[in-house]
C-alpha cells in the first residue's frame, strides 16, 4: 500500500461529519431569512407569501380603506416578521413588501425606496462591524422575488429598469405571477422571451450552482434552472380533486392546482427557497452582495484598501510623520537662528578682543618707547 499523504491517519477524524455538525449547530441556533417581494399590486404577492409558508403572514388590505391610499402615489416598505418552526428547525422569517410599486400612471423612480432599503441594510451592517457590539438586527435581504405580469408578451420597461438595479444588489429571482392565465404553449414562449430579454439587457438573476457530487441533486438543479423564470399560482384555499384535498383555485372549467408541477412551478420555487438553497442565498448575500456594496462604498470614499483598520492606521501614521517632519524642520530652523546669533556675538567679542589687544599692544609699544627714552636720558646723564 502506497504511503498516504503526510498527516493522514487510518482513524476517522470525523471530518465527514462536519456537514452534519453544521446542520446540528444551525438547527439549534435557527436561522434568519429575509425575503422581499416586489411587483405591482394585484399580482398575488400576499397570497404567494401566505401559501409559501403556510401561515397567514400578511393580512389582505381592507378594501374599504383603499380610498385613502389609491391616489397616494407613494411606494411604502412594509416589514413583517414571524418565527416559524418545522421539525425543530427555527426560522426567523422576515417578509418585506413594497405596496404602491408600479401602481401609478407615472412610475418614475418608484424603485428608489426599494433600492434604498436594500442598500441601507448593507450600510447598517457595515457601520456596526467596527463597533464593539456587533449584534444587530440583520435585515439584509437574502432573496428578492420580482413579480412579472402575465402579459404573455415580454418584459416591460419598468421591469427591465428595476431588475437591472436589483440584480446588482441582491439575489434576484423573477417569477411569473398568476400563471393560471397562460396556457402551457403560451407559457413556454413567454419564458423564452423573458430569458431572452434578461440576457439582452444583462440582468444578473440568481443562478445557483448546478453541479453537485450527488447525481440526483445535479439533475434536480438542472431542471430547476431550466424552469426559470418560475411560473406560480397561489392559493390559501383547499379544493377537493379526485377525493383529495389540494391547494388550488376553483374555476367553473376546472381546478388549477398549486402543487401540481404540470400546472405551475410553485413546488420548484418553494424547494429552492426553503429546502435546498436557503443557506446558499444567505451566504451569497453576505459573501458577494454585501462585499460588493462595501467595495463600492469605500472606493467611493477615496480609500484604496479593503481593510479600513489598516488603512486608517496608515493614514494616521502618515499624518504623524508629516507633523514630525514639520516639527523637525521648525526645530532646525530655530537652532540655525540661534546659532547665527551666537556666531555673530562671538564675532563681535572676537573683534572686540582684537581691538583691545591692539590697543594693549599699542600701549605696550608706547611704554617701551618711553622706557627706552628714559634709559637714554639716564645714560646721557651718567656720562
Amino acid at each position: 500500500m502506497a504511503p498516504g499523504p503526510v498527516g493522514a491517519t487510518n482513524v476517522s477524524v470525523g471530518i465527514a461529519n462536519l456537514p452534519n455538525q453544521r446542520h446540528k449547530i444551525v438547527s439549534r441556533k435557527g436561522t434568519n431569512f429575509t425575503v422581499m417581494v416586489v411587483g405591482e399590486s394585484g399580482l398575488g404577492k400576499t397570497t404567494f407569501i401566505n401559501t409559501l409558508f403556510t401561515t397567514l403572514m400578511r393580512e389582505y388590505k381592507r378594501p374599504e380603506h383603499r380610498f385613502n391610499k389609491q391616489m397616494d402615489r407613494t411606494v411604502a416598505i412594509d416589514v413583517v416578521r414571524a418565527d416559524i418552526e418545522e421539525k425543530g428547525f427555527n426560522v426567523r422569517l422576515t417578509v418585506i413588501d413594497t405596496p404602491g410599486f408600479g401602481d401609478y400612471a407615472n412610475n418614475q423612480d418608484c424603485w428608489v425606496p426599494v433600492i434604498k432599503f436594500i442598500d441601507d441594510q448593507h450600510q447598517l451592517v457595515m457601520n456596526h462591524e467596527t463597533l464593539p457590539n456587533r449584534k444587530i438586527d440583520d435585515l439584509r435581504v437574502h432573496v428578492c422575488l420580482y413579480f412579472i405580469q402575465p402579459t404573455g408578451h415580454t418584459l416591460k420597461p419598468l421591469d427591465i429598469e428595476v431588475m437591472k438595479q436589483l440584480s446588482s444588489r441582491v439575489n434576484l429571482i423573477p417569477v411569473i405571477a398568476k400563471a393560471d392565465t397562460i396556457t402551457p404553449a403560451e407559457m413556454l414562449a413567454f419564458k423564452e422571451r423573458i430569458r431572452d430579454c434578461i440576457s439582452t439587457h444583462d440582468i444578473q438573476v440568481y443562478s445557483p450552482a448546478v453541479h453537485s457530487d450527488d447525481e440526483e441533486t445535479t439533475r434536480r438543479n438542472t431542471s430547476t434552472l431550466a424552469a426559470m423564470p418560475f411560473s406560480i399560482i397561489s392559493s390559501e384555499n383547499d379544493v377537493v380533486v379526485n377525493g383529495q384535498n389540494v391547494r388550488g383555485r376553483q374555476y367553473i372549467w376546472g381546478v388549477a392546482e398549486v402543487e401540481n408541477e404540470n400546472h405551475c412551478d410553485f413546488k420548484k420555487l418553494r424547494n429552492l427557497l426553503i429546502r435546498t438553497h436557503m443557506h446558499d442565498l444567505i451566504s451569497t448575500t453576505h459573501d458577494s452582495h454585501y462585499e460588493a456594496y462595501r467595495v463600492s462604498k469605500l472606493t467611493a470614499e477615496g480609500r484604496t484598501d479593503n481593510d479600513p483598520a489598516i488603512s486608517a492606521r496608515r493614514n494616521f501614521e502618515a499624518k504623524m510623520k508629516e507633523e514630525e517632519g514639520a516639527l523637525r524642520k521648525r526645530f532646525a530652523e530655530q537652532v540655525k537662528v540661534e546659532e547665527n546669533r551666537f556666531r555673530q556675538w562671538e564675532q563681535k567679542l572676537i573683534s572686540e578682543r582684537d581691538r583691545l589687544n591692539e590697543d594693549l599692544d599699542k600701549q605696550h609699544t608706547l611704554v617701551k618707547q618711553l622706557e627706552e627714552e628714559l634709559e637714554e636720558i639716564i645714560a646721557a646723564r651718567k656720562r
Binding site: G42, A105, N106, T154, P157, T183, D196, V255
Partner: protein
C-alpha cells in the same frame, strides 16, 4: 365575412334605411400591452384584424413607446345588416414608466374628430362624402388585480369620460374565480361611483322607456364592468366548433356566458345599443364639447372684436 349572433332592431324602418346605407361605428380600444386587446378585437370581428409582432422584440422592450393610434376598418354583416366597423387600436398606451403623456394623445385624437365635424358643419358647401370618424365607444381594459381600480385607470377614465362613452372591461377574466370576479366587479363600480367617473352605464328613462328596455339596461348595467376572454383558437367540443383557451385543468369557452360576458358585450356593442351609443356621442358628448369650444372662442371674440371665419 359573415358574423354570427343575430340581433334585431326594434323598428323595421331604421333597419331598412341602415341596410341600404350601411352603418358606421367606431370603437376605440385602450389598455396596457398584454391585456388581451388585440385578441379581443380579433375575437370580436372573428378575423385577424390586428397583427402586431414588433412588441415582442427583446431589444425594443426597454425603449420608450409613444401611443400609436391606428384605426382599421372592416366591413361586417350583422344579420343581414351591413356594418362598417372601425377599430382604433392604441398600442403603446400604459407601457412606459411614465404614462401620463399618453392620456393627452388619446384625448387629442378624439377631440380632433369633433373638430373635423365642426368645421364640416360650418362649411357653406358641405362635402357629401365626408366620413364621420368620431369615436362612439371607448373600451378601457382594466387589469384583473382583484383590488379595485388603479390610479392610472381612475385618472384616465376621468379625463376621457366627458368626451367619449367609456365602458370598463375586465380583460383576461379567466384569471379569476367566480367569487373573485364578482367581488372585483363590485369594487370597480364602487370606485367609479366614489371618484364620480363618467361611464356609459346603459341609461334609461323610467317614465319614457318601455319595460323591456328598462329590464335589458338594468341587466347590462349590473354586468358592468364586462369580463372578457379572447381567443382566436377553435376546437371541436361536443360536435361543435368552440372558440376557447385550453389549460391543463380545463377548457375556457369564449362564447359561453357562464364563463365570461363576451357574448353579451358583443351583442350590446354591435346590435342592441349601437344606436343609443351613437346618439349619445352626437347629442350629448359632441354637443358639450362644441359648446365649450365655441364659448371659449366666443369669449376671445368679445375681447378682441375679431370675426373668426371657419373652414
Amino acid at each position: 365575412m359573415v358574423a354570427s349572433s343575430g340581433a334585431s332592431f326594434k323598428s323595421g324602418g331604421v333597419r331598412r334605411k341602415a341596410a341600404k346605407k350601411g352603418l358606421i361605428f367606431t370603437i376605440m380600444i385602450v389598455g396596457s400591452s398584454g391585456s388581451g386587446k388585440s385578441t379581443f378585437v380579433n375575437t370580436l370581428c372573428e378575423s385577424p384584424v390586428i397583427l402586431r409582432k414588433d412588441h415582442l422584440d427583446a431589444e425594443k422592450a426597454a425603449v420608450l413607446k409613444t401611443v400609436n393610434i391606428t384605426p382599421t376598418t372592416i366591413e361586417m354583416d350583422e344579420d343581414g345588416l351591413k356594418l362598417s366597423l372601425t377599430v382604433v387600436d392604441t398600442p403603446g398606451f400604459g407601457d412606459n414608466i411614465n404614462n401620463e403623456p399618453a392620456f393627452a394623445d388619446i384625448l387629442e385624437y378624439i377631440e380632433h374628430q369633433y373638430e373635423e365635424i365642426l368645421s364640416q358643419e360650418s362649411r357653406i358647401k358641405r362635402n357629401p362624402r365626408f366620413q364621420d370618424n368620431r369615436v362612439h365607444i371607448l373600451l378601457y381594459f382594466v387589469q384583473p388585480t382583484g383590488h379595485g381600480l388603479r390610479e392610472m385607470d381612475i385618472e384616465f377614465m376621468r379625463t376621457l369620460g366627458p368626451r367619449v362613452n367609456v365602458i370598463p372591461v375586465i380583460s383576461k377574466a379567466d384569471s379569476m374565480t367566480p367569487q373573485e370576479l364578482n367581488a372585483f366587479k363590485k369594487k370597480v363600480m364602487e370606485d367609479i361611483s366614489h371618484y364620480k367617473i363618467p361611464i356609459y352605464d346603459f341609461p334609461y328613462d323610467e317614465d319614457e322607456d318601455d319595460e323591456e328596455t328598462i329590464e335589458e339596461n338594468t341587466e347590462l348595467r349590473g354586468l358592468l364592468p364586462f369580463s372578457v376572454i379572447g381567443s382566436e383558437d377553435e376546437i371541436i367540443l361536443n360536435g361543435r366548433r368552440v372558440r376557447c383557451r385550453q389549460y391543463p385543468w380545463g377548457i375556457v369557452e369564449v362564447d359561453n356566458s357562464k364563463h365570461c360576458d363576451f357574448s353579451k358585450l358583443r351583442y350590446m356593442l354591435l346590435s342592441s345599443h349601437l344606436h343609443d351609443v351613437k346618439d349619445i356621442t352626437h347629442d350629448v358628448l359632441y354637443e358639450s364639447w362644441r359648446t365649450e369650444k365655441l364659448s371659449k372662442e366666443g369669449h376671445h371674440d368679445d375681447d378682441e372684436e375679431e370675426v373668426i371665419i371657419d373652414g
